[in-house]
Symmetry: C2
Subunit: 469 residues, 2 copies
């Protein structure tokens, strides 16, 4: 059962001394909109580190490459009320005889790694101190960050925003059932539990349909990602009103009760997350599956861009704005914004993908840097499941990728399409322009001996943790 734990070597060489005073701790938060690959990312990151001593798969992660690493170990996590990230379960799925992608997580989870390394500042002559960096990796749904903007809106403003979004496609059609139910209600009438429950349930269905259609901007975030403790609580049983009534002072009206629940949601859910978790993070990586948005078309692409910018806004808020005012500031000093599944494009396209990403979040990016937070953009693959290959088309050598498609038993060679340098105009989103396929995880011969194949995970690690050693 414990094979995955690389134990510290039991004998410490005489010229190395453990120095507890040099021990440090860093809280590394991992988020992303759902299906962006958070679970796979963390599983791979943990696996790479646990095998850091054994191999040469992390050339750009200095502490490993320099030979100063002494060992990495999974440790009992410090926050005992947070569910554990089940690395053991995920790695079994990913590295089994028939590899499958691990089950996604739906709430917040945590795992702690202890990285023991040799400091290059000698203690005494010839005696280098060994110290430990404790890395607490915390995984939470990006949808929860979308809620931050609610803190700036009252119920009436938020309702108007949603009503406006439902005036155009694809939300216009998707919201039809919910809207026609809302039209049948009188906001001034006495609130009753059954009606509110039904309205909330239709609105939640609408959000799920949006999600299935590839949309990202889903508010309130807990309606699609509730976290189990709130299931069935009234603060999840409200929805926006399509028409805001004038001058209702009946405190038990539908309008008043919905408004109360909205405020309660902000108080008990949104603020609580910031107070209990967000405010303690040191480093943040935000994952996005940008390629999927390419596949589904212009409206879902812009929706994802808006959602990501809204997520990124959380970090700006933190330094000078809203969060600072409400919660007393953030500790986060580095943010990495990463496009996942970079193995779904040909190697030549990687720079384009990164440039595209940067353009996508330019505004957020600039602001965050301005506030003293270092931000970086990267395209990575936590687990690489394709190989670069070449094919010939009309006498020309064309770069393509080879892998096992998610649906299918035969490997295919695929030219997935060029990544544009900037967002195509609406009219340029023609069918079939992009075909970024999903692949099965690779079958690996000796998974317990070395790290998983990846793209640029070592660079991500270096940016996120490198300066902590």
């Amino acid at each position: 059962m414990n094979k995955w734990i690389t134990r510290f070597s039991t004998s410490t060489p005489l010229n190395e001394r453990i120095n507890r005073t040099l021990d440090k701790q860093v809280k590394l938060a991992v988020t992303g909109l759902s299906r962006s690959g958070k679970t796979v990312f963390i599983t791979s990151l943990v696996h790479q580190l646990l095998h850091g001593l054994n191999s040469t798969h992390l050339p750009f992660f200095q502490i490993v490459n320099s030979g100063l690493l002494r060992g990495v170990k999974a440790m009992p996590q410090p926050d005992m009320h947070i569910p554990s990230f089940r690395y053991d379960v995920a790695v079994e799925q990913l590295c089994g005889e028939l590899p499958t992608w691990p089950q996604p997580t739906s709430g917040i989870t945590e795992i702690r790694l202890a990285i023991r390394y040799l400091s290059n500042k000698p203690l005494l002559k010839h005696v280098s101190p060994v110290s430990t960096l404790y890395v607490d990796i915390i995984d939470y749904p990006g949808e929860w960050l979308l809620d931050l903007s609610l803190l700036e809106l009252n119920y009436e403003q938020w309702s108007k925003q949603i009503a406006r979004a439902c005036e155009s496609e694809p939300r216009l059609s998707l919201s039809e059932k919910w809207r026609s139910f809302m039209d049948s209600l009188d906001p001034a009438s006495e609130a009753d539990e059954t009606t509110m429950r039904q309205a909330a349930s239709l609105y939640t269905d609408f959000l799920h349909d949006c999600k299935d259609s590839g949309l990202s901007l889903l508010q309130p975030g807990r309606f699609t990602m509730p976290g189990d403790d709130l299931k069935g609580a009234p603060l999840l049983e409200f929805c926006p009103l399509l028409k805001i009534p004038q001058d209702i002072d009946n405190q038990s009206s539908l309008f008043a009760e919905m408004k109360k629940r909205y405020e309660s949601y902000k108080e008990h859910v949104v603020k609580k997350f910031y107070n209990e978790h967000f405010s303690s993070f040191d480093r943040q990586i935000v994952l996005a599956d940008v390629l999927r948005a390419f596949n589904t078309g212009y409206p879902t692409f812009t929706d994802m861009r808006d959602a990501i910018n809204m997520v990124m806004k959380s970090f700006q808020y933190g330094k000078s704005g809203l969060i600072n005012r409400l919660f007393g500031g953030l500790k986060i000093d580095k943010i990495l914004f990463a496009a996942t599944k970079a193995d779904h494009v040909t190697p030549e396209q990687l720079p384009n993908l990164e440039n595209f990403l940067r353009a996508m979040v330019t505004k957020s990016y600039n602001n965050a840097t301005f506030e003293g937070v270092r931000t970086e953009t990267i395209a990575l693959a936590a687990v690489k499941c394709t190989q670069a290959a070449y094919t010939t088309y009309q006498g020309q050598k064309i770069s393509c990728i080879k892998g096992m498609p998610l649906q299918g038993d035969k490997p295919i060679a695929l030219f997935p399409g060029d990544v544009p340098v900037e967002a195509p105009m609406p009219e340029e989103w023609v069918d079939g322009r992009f075909q970024f396929l999903e692949f099965k995880p690779p079958r690996l011969a000796n998974i317990h001996g070395s790290g998983l194949p990846h793209i640029r995970l070592d660079r991500a690690l270096e940016f996120l943790l490198g300066d902590k050693f």
Copy 2:
């Protein structure tokens, strides 16, 4: 959908005036060990009150019987982060074409009723004020109260207590698998996640087996009744140690880590419940299915008695002891201790059942009264599913009960056995002395017209709420 809501009459007679200043609120907490019938009790209580105007089924509940009741209505609950008690779902199961017992709840739930009534203190001459009593009914597992005693024990003391309990049957056999796993561990060895998880899982299995065998004293309470938000969190992944080691100062040893989790459980789970919920309750009813304990024999009977006394202790603690010291006292000023399923004995046995109950909790009972909390004991049936009947045995008329057994399609007449006045000696628990059968809910012709049949629910209401009008 709203049939179950008895609306306030829309026209207020001229000699009645609504007086908001007389409005009051009471938090009525309902608890009991699992399977004691909490869900059925609350469903019936709500149903009786919603139909309070229409019928004469609550003769001992003064406010109804006096004709001063003006209407009862279900209202949006005040605590929006607590899941709602789904009365609508429960009543549909209980009162459908083929009635079934409603699904039990596993965590905390809430429902609010507004009782509008005529105060008998005239405002002006001939003008009686109408005021509202808001009753917030809060349902939570009795198992959670068993945890209170942990606050007085450190990890070593608690471990010893559990180890001792596992020295005799039935726990000796039930704990075998867990104990043999624990014997294979060295408490001084480095803690690792997988081992602790396995130990906790075997211990939880042991608790579930205890529960299935009819035992009640299951600690920690959240291991069998977790509440969803803590699933997979390390603070639920510990267990007692069978042998407490001497002088382990390694802070990452199995012993140290288990101890940390135990303390974290007390801090994040036990104290949190008291702070957030328990401390705000005004009235408490504790339900127990005493008859079931009779069926299963001496060890389960004494175990239930101990568990109930431990639960009752929570209320004593509150006034002068531990809770007071930790949380600043309790508001609870009335406790009703109720044996449920009183329809499973013949009517002649009811006084015996109540006497027996009283004897069972004499010690707790005396103490609670002493502390200024009014305590009362009652035998009740929230939903009566048997009829009194007579049979003749050797020329003698014998009282018995008739009902539809839970397993079966034909009604039976049953002589369930005499309820003893005091607990029988161990040697008197002969097989077949008691046969308290479970019954199906009754099929009711006109459930929306009047209250459900019950035994003494009106007396319970009068004790719990009567003085609030």
